[in-house]
Symmetry: C2
């Protein structure tokens, strides 16, 4: 058993580590240009500006159903002095969208045309030139720039591109990431499902989560098969991946210091380590290296650490190499339901549940363990506690980054108290009956529920509290927030 | 030439039309359940609640590298009274993530362990029970509900599902939409690219735009080949589509009243018309019908009308049948750069450019024609002018729905003045050098630029104005907003 341990001699702040990463790779990572059909272009990023090949409309076209005329012919027409026009000579029937016949420059609405005998119509008012005509290039002029480089194509853009006769566009090839899961303890879920899971084994999930995050940041990904926790095994996988056609490599490591050692020594042997250890929590054990010009990340082993490190480093780098701005989350002011201590020198990413109670958005902290993925799946927001701050006070306003829309949070019923599985059943029933209403329960024990009631920080208290308070307080809230579900049914569910 | 015209005898308000649509179909459209691999599940919607098959951790596991012990054995250890433990008997080496050996319930960090001769270690402090141990089910308990029905799966969720041993999930089949492009004037872009476009022909784009919007709302789509503008042709296409395995049918019609007639008469012949005409602009000529229980939409022909009608009706219905809440856009308070008149009785969707100038977000209206797709691709937001309002005043605060993030809008350089193609070149250069900075130019003529300067509603005035004002006013703004690009270069570009 080795006792040689990695020591984070030069841990970097989040800001410093990000600067090192982006300065090292932003210019060096360039993505080749690819031409794709407009039909498949949504979400792609333009490599060069795109200009219109055709004008839109491509011809003068009628903007109303009626008759096309030369405006000059109609001058002088009035109720008292109607003009007669001959169809096929001075007036041509047109429908909206029809090309204007040669020699015409105005449309008179069919409602204002009196049809006389065969081939003759009468008008009682003049038309002005270009009346009800969409002129060539009114929307798009051939040759003009439609979108600049680095523009990300939306469904709307497809309309403009096709209207301008552009059927193929030059886009950046998506950045390609290889994910290498390392750890002798890793198994696939199928193995676990067969009841063959051995003590100490873990279902490999991180590469699937991070791969999906790569895709959400515009990249493509491939998983390398699970690699045993040996220097030789990791080295072989990394060498093969660096040689492959990819832009970035992510090792999702075991969470032990030993496994970090292996990853670090492989990166040192094949390239160089840029950052080892970031003063963020979760996410601290992140390794950033460079091999043959490609960024190689040793991701932390705990799922929450891996995700938060990804979101601070890998995701933004993926966007930067595509020429896209970093994604920022909407922020709102929230009030923590209780005091939270935090370690000095570390920037903490505290996962919280949010709910609007009265005028305030109340933040209930979730567990802080980096191993608990549910602290992210349950979270509505993240409060970042800066490294020079020792904690945040109960009900003191702080900023939270939102993981769900403000709309969703305003329609969340907040339940605080001891954990009761029937609350999960209730959450499901509510979701079935009212897709817009979310039921969010924080499990902080009965005392936490009592405190929440006292501070007016919840809609529904835990089951024990309902017994003690006769449910009167909560019943009114339930009624307000769960319209359509009989109050009796809600209460009986909570009481089970 | 027929003169029989559709008359919108019973135009519905946006609200009334939406109510009719949702009440008719929300309950009737049900999507079958499909089981998919967790690996492909991101973005899918759970059809039923999902519960954990395994606990996570599945066993007690070490949370630190060190030795696993029974806490009871360590009681009494102190600096003055160290305890010796025999490896393999009272103490077992473990790494983070290892299963706790049988009989142990605490981990002592390796840093606090003195290694003596072979097989012996010494500790100088006791361990408390469960110290540095992640206990079974700390994150997830087997059997507990992970997510309620109608939950949309995120990348984070994949981590929780796999950790809980869930490899396959029951999701709703995506709603499938068939899009039928109608109109004898339609051609594909390839035909236009060959220079074979005839006067009056139009490149078919609406089904591609709307199909991508279907996908953005969680659906799948298939395009029917272009259909000529005849009752027989449309009828045949609709009958075939209704018989096919789809949930919804969209006809993207010609924009003429004649083509609406055909669509309407086909829907009436095969089913019933629910709504014809909505008092919204653009979007008015929308047709909503029902054939064999399926919603059939006759979408307006103009691209902006088709998109806005989609976003008010088709998109929300797609979300509702999946059990998802309607998407709402973030709203901000903006100040229109000029007075805008609007028709009474019609809810107008005014496309605007937005930019932060000083403390204010200035909204510059784009063109109002429904045929101009660039009024949507260029737009940063939409101001909805209610039907009972005749217009909005210059610089009077109004709400705008955002089409881009507030971050993007705060980093937009606003240029107002006459159209100058070199501004497009500048926009591209800026985007190349600074992915986060957008350059947005509104083409309102030199007088509009002058007004914008007077009202402090722009950063950069049009090229003509620069000559007149010597560029002094604008130079400071350019300098502030385009760091890194030499001012001289920017000005010379604008001056070209």
């Amino acid at each position: 058993m080795t006792t040689k341990r990695n020591i984070y001699l030069q841990m970097k702040s989040l800001e410093a580590a990000r600067r090192i990463l982006f300065e090292t790779f932003r210019e060096r990572l360039t993505l080749p240009v690819k031409t794709v059909s407009v039909y498949d272009a949504v979400g792609r990023v333009l490599a060069t500006p795109v200009s219109a090949k055709l004008s839109s409309p491509a011809f003068h076209v009628a903007a109303m159903d009626g008759i096309a005329v030369s405006a000059a012919v109609t001058f002088g027409a009035a109720e008292t002095a109607p003009k007669q026009l001959t169809i096929g000579v001075e007036a041509m029937y047109v429908n909206t969208g029809h090309a204007m016949p040669r020699g015409t420059d105005a449309v008179i609405m069919i409602e204002h045309v009196n049809e006389l005998e065969e081939g003759q119509v009468e008008i009682q008012a003049p038309a002005y030139p270009w009346q009800y005509v969409r002129r060539v290039g009114e929307d798009i002029v051939a040759g003009e720039q439609l979108f600049p480089r680095h523009h990300r194509i939306t469904p709307y853009c497809i309309g403009a591109l096709l209207a301008a006769g552009v059927g193929r566009v030059p886009v950046k090839r998506r950045p390609h990431v290889i994910l290498i899961p390392t750890g002798s303890e890793l198994i696939d879920w199928e193995t676990a499902a067969d009841g063959k899971m051995q003590p100490g084994q873990v279902i490999e999930a991180n590469t699937h989560v991070l791969g999906n995050l790569v895709a959400a940041n515009g990249g493509t990904y491939k998983r390398h098969p699970n690699v045993d926790d040996t220097v030789a095994g990791i080295r072989q996988a990394v060498e093969a991946s660096v040689a492959a056609d990819c832009d970035m490599i992510l090792l999702t490591g075991g969470s032990s210091a030993g496994s970090e050692d292996y990853t670090r020594s492989v990166i040192e042997a094949l390239g160089r380590v840029l950052v080892h250890g970031v003063t963020m929590m979760p996410g601290k054990p992140l390794l950033i290296g460079e091999i043959a010009g490609k960024p190689v990340f040793g991701m932390p082993g705990y799922p929450v650490s891996a995700i938060l490190a990804f979101e601070q480093f890998v995701g933004p780098l993926l966007l930067k190499v595509q020429g896209l701005p970093e994604q920022t989350r909407e922020q709102v002011t929230v009030m923590p339901a209780r005091k939270i201590a935090s370690r000095l020198g570390v920037e903490e990413f505290l996962r919280v549940k949010l709910g609007t109670v009265g005028e305030r958005i109340i933040a209930t902290p979730l567990g802080r363990g980096a191993g608990a993925i549910t602290t992210l799946t349950e979270a509505d927001g993240i409060i970042r506690i800066p490294s020079q701050v020792e904690g945040i006070d109960a009900f003191a306003p702080v900023q939270a980054e939102l993981l769900r829309s403000p709309e969703a949070i305003s329609q969340t019923v907040v339940a605080v108290g001891s954990h009761d599985n029937t609350l999960d059943v209730l959450a499901d029933l509510v979701r079935g009956a009212h897709p817009v209403i979310r039921f969010s329960s924080s499990h902080v024990g009965s005392m936490g529920g009592l405190m929440a009631i006292r501070k007016d920080a919840c809609h529904v208290a835990g089951s024990h509290l309902l017994d003690e308070t006769d449910g009167t307080y909560n019943r009114s809230y339930i009624h307000k927030y769960l319209p359509g579900i009989p109050v009796r049914q809600v209460l009986s569910l909570i009481h089970i």
